[in-house]
């Protein structure tokens, strides 16, 4: 029992060191743990699989560099999946720095797509019309950041060209092939097949859910781990077709698209670190019980 009492007064820096080692060691001495995609992640994957090639999907990058380690790998995996299915991502941002992160993710996804194109082509896993090098303005576009959150999204429900007369590089959006509509109408949210928001806080997927009555489009979310309990309620109500929750969600999506990225690489340190934290929680509780017993004995 005394050992538990000593543990209660353990210097917190030993805990930090143990957690740091539990992350570093699995990264250095690599090993893989099995990953089983859950229903929420499969929901997005199956939805993208079911879309017609050439469909346009609106992706909103509503996070900043602080959430990039969690949301970036999932975003890259989805881009790779879309390029393989010839689905055209239209990227907007409700958060200012989402711009730069979106560009970085698309560049990495294009690189992965290019490197695996031949292999997938030989295996007949690419859809007709899939390009080795997707072009800006034709196969994808990054529109950039616009302030306003929920009001901005409401605007997009009627017209994209008003809020976004130019893309993030200053190219006029009016003549872009990606925004062409069959009936010649101005492009709006009604023309996208799916909305995905990578959300780290406010003005994320909830801005799109709030406007569901105007756009009536299926929605999905990529979210930080902290937000998983909050957004699970939208999965339950059927307002979201799927969700990629944090780094584990990204790892699950990477396994579905057969890509070994940062998500899958992060699962062994994540699991070991969780194990270490669980051990500390159990030890902390045992120390608490031991202290209580000692106090009762003293009183008796």
């Amino acid at each position: 029992m005394d050992i538990f009492l000593k543990l209660k007064n353990l210097d917190r820096r030993w805990v930090y060191l143990c957690v740091a080692l539990s992350v570093i060691l699995p990264m250095v001495f690599k090993f893989e743990l099995p990953i089983y995609p859950g229903a929420a992640v499969k929901g997005i994957y199956n939805k993208i699989e079911s879309l017609e090639p050439g469909s346009r999907v609106f992706l909103s990058f509503d996070f900043d560099p602080a959430a990039e380690p969690e949301l970036g790998p999932g975003a890259i995996a989805i881009f790779v999946h879309m390029f393989r299915r010839n689905i055209k991502p239209i990227v907007g941002c409700n958060w200012p720095v989402g711009n730069e992160i979106a560009e970085k993710c698309i560049t990495q996804a294009k690189e992965i797509h290019k490197n695996t194109f031949e292999k997938y082509n030989k295996e007949n896993k690419l859809v007709k019309g899939c390009k080795i090098d997707p072009e800006n303005g034709k196969d994808y576009v990054i529109l950039g950041y616009k302030p306003g959150g929920i009001i901005h999204v409401k605007n997009l429900c009627t017209d994209f060209m008003g809020p976004y007369p130019q893309d993030k590089d200053g190219n006029p959006t009016d003549n872009m092939e990606i925004f062409k509509t069959a009936n010649g109408k101005r492009f709006s949210m009604n023309d996208v097949a799916l909305i995905i928001s990578y959300t780290a806080g406010t003005n994320g997927i909830e801005a799109f859910i709030s406007n569901e009555m105007f756009h009536k489009r299926p929605m999905a979310a990529g979210c930080t781990s902290v937000n998983i309990p909050r957004f699970t309620t939208y999965l339950q109500t059927g307002q979201l077709v799927g969700m990629i929750g944090g780094l584990p969600g990204a790892a699950e999506y990477e396994s579905l698209v057969d890509h070994k990225g940062e998500g899958r690489a992060g699962m062994s340190p994540q699991s070991i670190a969780h194990l270490v934290i669980m051990i500390f929680i159990i030890l902390g509780n045992l120390a608490f019980i031991a202290e209580n017993r000692k106090m009762h004995k003293k009183k008796a």
Binding site: G144, I209, S225, V226, Q239, P269
Partner: protein
Amino acid sequence: MVELISIWIGAFITLCCFSFLYKDNPFYRFAESLFVGVSAGYYLSVVYFHQVLKPNLLAKLFPAAFASGEAASAAPDYWLIIPGILGCLMLLRFSQKLAWVSRFTVAFVMGVSTGLTIVTSTQQYLIPQIAKAIKPIIVSGNIWQSFSNIVLVVGSIACLFYFFFSTEHRGPVYGNLAKIGIWVLMISFGASFGATVMGRISLLIGRFSFLLHDWLHII
């Protein structure tokens, strides 16, 4: 070369932040102050001016001066003078005598936000959540679904009972339901705590990945 320098600076700042785990020190305070200063500068110049004010107001009011390409020859949109003035009024908060004028802008923003939020919250959040909480308690031939539905319905009702404060949480029905409500809330807090730990470890993995891969090339 630029990339190499930026990686070394990033690694140094990361180590400065980590040093706080040992104890407070000048390196950590330097990193903290640097972050605050750079963020303020970045948001003021890049975000608020170049990404918000310039494309959304100045380029549309004075296209010849602020817009580029075809947009430079477009006709000015004079309707934007109204939100422009409302925005300028907010700056009067710096004056003690005229600070009250900024309340017009605040009132406008609050009115629009409240109007939008009340409608959307009811239609998109409240009603779907209530609708999905109405479930058959017994599903014939599916014991697990029945159990799941009972947990959902009883949990929802018990939590609502717990937040009903106008009566004391006592008695066989009311007291016990409030107790169940606390248990359900505790389980949900546990789930939130677990998710938060998962998120923080993911961020730590991101930082160590940067240090070990991009900086030290160990992995």
